[in-house]
């Protein structure tokens, strides 16, 4: 035990230094890449909580003290996992059965389906929860809908209850079947944040990333607490473009250029930040309120975006940039000369070919999936991510001087998403789905729910995911 005081002093020192130094890189040289080391070189394990989920694609808790974990299945169901790890027989919500004409969820392409669930900060009192899904009746448009739990039936929202309480908050038109974003999450400020993809195909044909007149390729932020419940949502007054498109009289003289630049007559006030490609997963650091976005890349790089709490209005570059490099990539970026557009990511890792013509490295990834921010196990504000294709797990953190991307482990799993349990531990789901020709959300081999634990704390007898370093 004599090392304890030293350890406390050490941890305190690191905590303090990390707290004031988390700045976003201004140079590509400062963007973390594989090969880094997190403070303390932490070791983690994936401990199985429950299994048998069909294409699980998200996980959340209700924050109501029940300890329930909600696992989102792509077909349109939400399953409840109890504190003891038992999965309820009946789903919490089943969007495949609320519409007598068939499922309400479009799953025709593997990136489509029910994406996520978020519980209102006052869920315990008002029973409100929100889902985001690809709507079949609306040809794959993203529907964000509020439902209200019946207090008499806290574990099952049946079809009648769902239809009787449904309030459509937003519909995001989706021109193509891919890059739909997905994650919705309440921030520490009580606002609902929405990850919205660029609408699909490849290369952002709409130029949506840099177009403030579309909700695509954005992080959106809305206030769902409307006094009048016929109003879908309110625009938070401190959104960066809250008033940029408001009608006004034109004045040409005596106005500074900075003031002119704030007039954006076509901008959408819901936009919080822009220039993202497919923010399928994002997570708030529950301790600091900082936001991490796992922005899925195109042919060559996956990236992690860091946004200090409350720091909206950022441009993350897509489709001018792919991670730290100019898009489209035409060769080795070290030999090209291009100006950075927007704010750089804090970390990035490559696909098997980091640029066209590069030597292939089969350990590369293809699709980053964010899990959550770890503030335990010796880690302070470490964003854990995994890759849908490679099965690798990376931790991203700041060591007080610079951002680090540590290769945590190689697993066999296909990761799809993460979330938190009520104790702030990071939960992860893996699926067995991919761009295969003949598989549907209910026929793919099932996936599982895992809890990320410090390797030293794995309970005896626990089922731990296979991994190699």
């Amino acid at each position: 035990m004599k090392r304890l005081p030293v350890a406390i002093a050490c941890a305190a020192l690191l905590t303090t230094s990390a707290a004031f130094a988390k700045e976003v890189p201004t140079s590509i040289d400062d963007v973390a890449q594989p090969g880094g080391t997190l403070t303390g070189n932490p070791e983690i394990a994936f401990v199985q909580v429950a299994t048998g989920f069909l294409d699980p694609v998200n996980v959340a808790n209700a924050g109501d003290g029940t300890g329930r974990i909600f696992v989102v299945e792509r077909a349109g169901r939400i399953q409840i996992v109890g504190k003891d790890g038992a999965v309820n027989d009946e789903p919490f919500l089943d969007l495949t059965s609320i519409n007598p004409l068939g499922s309400d969820v479009q799953t025709g392409f593997v990136e489509q389906g029910l994406y996520s669930v978020a519980f209102h900060p006052d869920f315990a009192e008002n029973g409100y929860f929100y889902v985001h899904y690809a709507s079949l009746p609306f040809n794959g448009d993203g529907m964000i809908v509020r439902f209200t739990v019946d207090p008499e039936s806290p574990d099952v929202v049946d079809a009648d209850r769902a239809n009787g309480t449904a309030k459509v908050i937003m519909r995001i038109e989706q021109p193509w079947y891919n890059h739909n974003g997905g994650q919705i999450e309440f921030g520490p400020d009580g606002m609902l944040y929405i990850g919205s993809g660029d609408g699909g195909w490849e290369g952002d044909p709409y130029e949506a990333g840099q177009d403030l007149s579309t909700l695509l390729a954005k992080i959106l932020r809305i206030d769902v607490d409307t006094e009048d419940d016929t109003v879908p949502y309110k625009i938070p007054a401190d959104n960066p473009f809250a008033n940029a498109s408001s009608e006004r009289l034109m004045s040409l003289f005596g106005i500074t250029e900075e003031e002119f630049s704030k007039i954006k007559t076509r901008s959408r006030p819901e936009i919080w930040s822009y220039g993202v490609r497919n923010p399928y997963e994002f997570s708030f650091d529950q301790k600091t309120g900082d936001l991490f976005i796992a922005d899925v890349g195109q042919n060559h790089w996956e990236e992690v975006i860091f946004e200090k709490a409350g720091n909206g209005g950022m441009n993350y570059g897509w489709p001018r940039m792919e991670a730290s490099y100019c898009h489209p990539m035409t060769g080795d970026p070290a030999e090209s000369d291009c100006a950075v557009v927007g704010t750089l990511p804090v970390a990035q890792y490559p696909h098997s070919a980091p640029y066209p013509g590069a030597p292939e490295d089969a350990s590369g990834g293809c699709s980053i999936q964010g899990f959550g921010v770890l503030n335990y196990g010796g880690m302070e504000g470490v964003y854990m991510v995994g890759d849908w294709c490679s099965g690798r797990v990376f931790g991203i953190g700041h060591d007080g001087e610079s951002w680090q991307l540590q290769d945590m482990m190689q697993t066999t799993m296909q990761f799809t998403a993460g979330g938190y349990d009520e104790d702030g531990m990071v939960m992860v789901v893996n699926a067995n789905n991919f761009y295969l020709a003949d598989q549907g959300p209910d026929t793919n081999p099932p996936g599982a729910l895992w809890r990320i634990m410090p390797a030293a704390d794995v309970p005896e007898g626990a089922v731990v995911a296979d991994s190699v370093q």
Binding site: R3, L4, V6, A7, C10, A11, L14, T15, T39, G40, N41, P42, E43, A45, T51, H351, S352, E360, A362, C366, N375, Y376, G377, G378, E380, W388, C389, S390, G391, R392, M409, Q410, T411, T412, M413, Q414, F415, D421, D423, M425, N432, F434, L436, A437, D438, Q439, P445, R451, M453, P454, A455, A456, D457, V458, V463, V464, A465, D466, S467, V468
Partner: protein, 169 residues
Amino acid sequence: MSKFRHLLPICLMLAVSFSHAAETATGTETADQTAESENAPESGSLEFLHALTNKPLDMNMRPDQVLTPAVLEFHETGENPYSGDAEHIAAGEKLYRKQCQACHLKDGKGRIGPNLTDETWTRARTDTEKGRFEVVYGGGAGAMQAFGLRMDQDAILEVLAFIETFRGQ
């Protein structure tokens, strides 16, 4: 898990020292492997191992499938009886189009998945037909899933016979 919340914030130094003791915790057992003892290979046949973990594969992932003479022969020899057989190669090509082409591309040169047309293999074991079977059947990592859950072993031999034609070109 509430007891672990009280470990916050855990001291760094302690985490490092604990971690050494925990190294054996990774990959101790998996849910899938609980059935393995019942599905051990019969005496005398080859042992098939997971490409990443080297753990014995469950050779009974699809209990309803028929283990054809070709499969049984393969289990003994590690040689693919369908190698060079036009009919089975054609069947393998159809399966490849459905299950493999999205990542390895039509010509096998790869994009998300590695190139299958050369003699460079991602994992050392894949320079043998047995090793390639292990990767396809039991999965490698991530998107290279256990296709033994999706296809019968006989079908996997057909796919492997087709993939072999890439390297003959």
